[in-house]
Symmetry: D2
């Protein structure tokens, strides 16, 4: 099983155990992704480009950033699951489109 | 090699070939994720929860949504690469935190 | 009449003339704000801090930024209208909270 | 003086008193707007359209939403100030464009 499928199944099991599927409509999940992306961008908003590098982050800051990246990833994988979309496949499709564009 | 690592390498090769690493600071990539998450949420903004389901989407709409999901995923994988963060690992760490919380 | 109330009324008239009130739920409008904020942030994502200054922007870029600021403002004023919230009042309330905090 | 200009001046005085102008580049402020818009959208993410109406919100929820609207407004007014953009003017310009479009 691919790593994406494993994570997808773990996230699905987590949601099912809490009876959250009712809340996990594509519309709502797109909002959750935007919300978490907002938290991620706010981690960097007052930093310079240099300060945003790993080597210049405190361990606490890095941990916060890691967890924000995880939050975006979790809702993104969940949205793809609900919509029956294969993330790796669409990423490759989009890279191919970008290859022909740039 | 895991699927995440494969995608990470393809995205890195794409950026390197265009000499884009200079633009791909963590700060800038967090902005790109927020921008793409904004495009994703705007796909759903005027739809009801029901209309946002796959079975109620036109093939064109589904394709647009797929490509927006891909865009968020591409920049998220790229940010994790630049920060040397293992996405699957932090997702599992965050699920464990959520397990103890909810 | 205050400037906010004038704009509020113009935006309301625009929406009413198109029978869009049905789409303008607080939930949907919060999504529209996030979507437009995503477009605004993407205007700046590959620029340095210096390049993002007005004096370093082309007239075309400045016009794009102006219209993105307008889009966020329009949906924000519309959301406040639908929720019967006075924007100027809550801005002053929040500044007072911030004064006591920082 | 218009209400926008009054708020602009209060926000500017607040920032100046804390020597924050150095952080308030257009790039950084666009990130702050995206971050606050993310917090605003997350207030509504698990609510139905009906639950998102003022009449169905608790007083605590309404207060949270008010303060998130204020946060987006504050950074938007600040960004417009730094870029020397008149918010009311660009809103009217954008409404006129929309009038001709829809």
């Amino acid at each position: 099983m691919s790593e994406f499928d494993e994570l997808k199944n773990e996230i699905r099991a987590f949601a099912d155990a809490r009876d959250w599927e009712q809340f996990h409509t594509p519309k709502n999940l797109s909002m959750a992704i935007a919300g978490e992306a907002g938290e991620l961008v706010s981690e960097f908003q007052w930093l310079t480009a240099e300060q945003s590098m790993r080597s210049n982050m405190s361990p606490e800051k890095l941990k916060d950033v890691e967890l924000e990246i995880a939050d975006v990833a979790i809702y993104l994988i969940r949205l793809a699951d609900i919509l029956d979309i294969d993330v790796a496949e669409v990423v490759r499709k989009k890279i191919a489109i970008n290859e022909s564009r740039f």
